[in-house]
């Protein structure tokens, strides 16, 4: 292994690690506030670019979809409607939710009629975004004060449901998406896809944004209060449900945008989200699912391990990355007695 190879591998590790970092941040955020390990986050990540495919003109996507509305729009609308029915006692909110269900369908219809690329890009995110908070309302909130394990089981169930729906909505094959920035830039010896710079840019933006959100804004502080002590936060008038919606919303937004930026580099398919989410989870675990900086460090470490393993022993790549979990879990469980216990 010489310097050229090492620098190539580092570039690859950085690109993968950045995506894992974004997912790990979202997972830590959601876990801290709601005690939910959001396994289906990877599905949200692929839903957005796959929805975008349905908004692309036929000559770009190579498909003849004839203005079909993507399945994710129906899913989002159905979940919002269900939410409206659950909250029917609060007429104003129920009305707003029902309206936004219609709105999502409207946006999807508009997108499917053929819109400029940038508009379709935004519409795809808007269509998928409600699925996140709605998942919290429909599946996690009814199980109030359940154990971490119960939440995990619900989350795993949701992951299987969303992945299966992904297959129904988008079919088994991959898709090609246009890059926002085409071409490559050579840094030193390493050619880097220009699209990858957008991923790095977004990762920095997301990290700074989250930092400012948590330290400067009242919503962010409320979320932190929830994360520190939910009971105490409630006594101070912070609604845990709202904290749940906001954290799920932020996590879904980060996942969707990451997916949209990553998609041109990987040709997304319905099955690709899970493994990305899982590696983000491994990264999050490295930080004990409580520390944001450690999660980012963990993500870069996972990316580096993966690159190194795929170079040295490609047949065992995933085995090596997931075997990384074992010593770290052992070490962490020796370090802390009550990891993620209730209140």
């Amino acid at each position: 292994m010489d310097w050229t190879i090492l620098s190539f591998l580092t570039a690859d590790a950085l690109q993968n690690g950045t995506i894992y970092a974004l997912l790990a941040l979202s997972l830590v955020l959601v876990f801290a506030v709601t005690r939910v390990i959001l396994v289906p986050l990877g599905e949200f990540l692929v839903y957005a670019p796959l929805t975008y495919v349905w908004f692309l003109p036929a000559e770009v996507s190579g498909l003849n979809l004839q203005g079909q509305i993507p399945g994710t729009a129906w899913l989002a609308a159905a979940m919002l409607l269900w939410w409206a029915i659950l909250d029917r006692t609060n007429l104003r909110r129920a009305g707003l939710l029902a309206l936004s269900a219609l709105g999502v369908l409207g946006l999807a219809w508009w997108g499917a009629q053929g819109v400029p690329l940038w508009l379709g890009w935004l519409l795809a995110i808007l269509v998928v975004l409600p699925i996140g908070p709605a998942s919290y309302r429909l599946f996690f909130e009814p199980a109030k004060n359940a154990s971490v394990l119960t939440y995990l089981i619900i989350a795993v169930g949701l992951h299987f449901a969303f992945m299966g729906l992904g297959l129904v909505f988008f079919g088994p094959e991959q898709f090609r998406l246009p890059a926002i920035l085409g071409g490559q830039t050579t840094i030193g010896l390493v050619p880097v896809n220009n699209q990858a710079f957008l991923v790095y840019g977004f990762a920095l933006l997301a990290m700074v944004g989250l930092y400012l959100f948590f330290t400067r804004s009242i919503y962010g502080k409320a979320l932190r209060a929830c994360a520190v002590n939910r009971y105490g936060a409630r006594l101070l008038g912070i609604s845990p449900s709202q904290a749940g919606y906001v954290s799920f919303g932020i996590a879904t937004l980060i996942a969707c945008v990451s997916g949209m930026l990553l998609a041109p580099l990987i040709s997304p398919a319905y099955f690709q989200g899970f493994l990305l989410g899982l590696k983000g989870f491994v990264a999050g675990i490295l930080g004990g699912l409580i520390s944001y900086p450690l999660a980012v460090v963990g993500a870069l470490l996972v990316g580096a391990m993966e690159s190194w393993a795929s170079f040295q022993a490609s047949a065992y790549k995933d085995a090596i990355v997931f075997a990384l979990l074992l010593p770290i879990l052992l070490w962490r469980s020796l370090q802390s007695q009550e990891l993620g216990e209730e209140d």
Partner: protein
């Protein structure tokens, strides 16, 4: 009076049909699940054949009925379907199934019941070596070993001295790794790297770097569906200028759609039916392949055909004459004896021209294809109209 006549007519028809009990053939295909893109054209082809055969008076004057069951690309379901077909439907023979693992799982069941089976899956192990159980099992698709031959010969003809392999880390990729490495060794081509990747991978930079470090003249990518686009794109992005080969697992329109222009110049082996209209006029299966594609497209739409349906067509091309010969020797009411005779007659298949080649079975060879007719080398090109398409590069006759 009229009513009586209608009644008599109905009675007559009923009697006629009773004498003409249909010849029941069991079919197991993966019409849903991950292998659906292969299983659907297979099912469509058999539906088409059933209609056609019965419209033209059936086999030896008796109608044919395909009892088709979908195994959802799942081994357990395939085995269950096989049992049902044998015990409840009392089929004479079974065609199926689409995938290798499920086809292997069905062997025990058909051997135990003594029912001949023609598999539509690729792996050589389904029919080799022919032993007590595999006596009952035949298959129509080319094996990886046969498909490796055209690749290696094309490499040799293009002056390739060193080659690298990168393939799926599953049965498909491993099978290809073994077959390709053996064939390359025989032809004096050195395999300098053998890497694996997963269908679900989002980056193969590490593997590609290792290949680039060895600087091979050619790279073979052993995958199916659309996932093999990723290593090819990474190779080109990292500046690889050599030849890139794919396997026949990518011979589908989705691969061209996802890969786009970077696929231009890619070479792959394929059954001749893929480029049926470009085959030389004296190519022995040109006519059969052409008529198959025309019939298929007339029923299911222009551009809908794939090579996979051809395997089902070939299974029937073998089974039909074997049925005719068996019917002359044994009554179908004597089911166990008839199945035995039918097995012998399938094994006696000689010079059956199918869409993918010429079948000559023997007691030691239950596939009976030679790669010379069963494989051609194809290159992906851009047509003047700006569309990607398959172009016949080389035949091996």
């Amino acid at each position: 009076m009229k009513r009586v006549l209608v009644g008599l007519l109905a009675l007559g028809l009923g009697l006629g049909l009773a004498q003409q009990a249909p010849l029941k053939i069991g079919v197991v295909v993966s019409a849903t699940g991950p292998a659906a893109s292969l299983g659907i054209p297979e099912r469509n082809t058999l539906v088409l054949l059933e209609e056609q055969v019965n419209r033209r008076g059936g086999v030896a004057g008796r109608p044919v009925q395909f009892v088709i069951i979908d195994d959802a690309s799942d081994t357990t379901q395939a085995v269950r379907a096989t049992r049902r077909l044998i015990q409840e439907d009392q089929v004479l023979a079974i065609i199926g199934t689409t995938t290798t693992p499920a086809s292997l799982g069905m062997i025990d069941v058909v051997a135990e019941a003594g029912v001949p089976k023609i598999s539509l899956a690729a792996n050589l192990e389904i029919v080799f070596p022919v032993d007590e159980k595999r006596r009952w099992v035949f298959k129509t698709p080319q094996t990886e070993q046969q498909m490796s031959q055209p690749i290696v010969r094309d490499m040799a003809a293009s002056g390739v001295k060193t080659a690298a392999y990168i393939g799926f880390n599953d049965a498909y990729g491993e099978g290809w790794a073994r077959a390709f490495e053996a064939a390359a060794r025989e032809a004096g081509i050195q395999v300098v790297a053998s890497e694996r990747f997963a269908r679900t991978d989002t980056s193969v930079a590490g593997q590609v770097l290792r290949i680039l470090a060895r600087n091979p003249d050619a790279v073979l990518i052993g995958g199916s569906g659309t996932a093999p686009v990723l290593p090819q794109r990474t190779l080109r992005e990292r500046g690889y200028r050599g030849l890139i080969y794919q396997t026949h697992g990518v011979a589908n329109p989705d691969f061209l759609r996802v890969g786009g222009d970077l696929l231009i110049g890619t070479r792959l082996p394929a059954g001749p039916v893929l480029v049926f209209d470009q085959l030389p006029p004296d190519f022995p299966n040109r006519q059969v392949a052409t008529s198959y594609v025309q019939q298929y497209e007339a029923r299911f739409g222009i551009g809908s055909y794939s090579t996979f349906g051809g395997h089902a067509y070939d299974a029937w091309a073998i089974l039909r004459p074997a049925l005719e010969r068996a019917l002359r020797r044994e009554q179908t009411t004597n089911l166990a004896a008839f199945r035995r005779v039918l097995r012998d007659e399938i094994e006696a298949t000689r010079n059956v021209v199918g869409t993918h080649g010429i079948f000559n079975m023997s007691p030691t060879d239950h596939l009976g294809l030679r790669f010379n007719e069963a494989a051609v080398m194809v290159e992906i090109i851009k047509t003047p109209a700006g569309k990607l398409d398959w172009k016949l590069l080389r035949t091996f006759r």
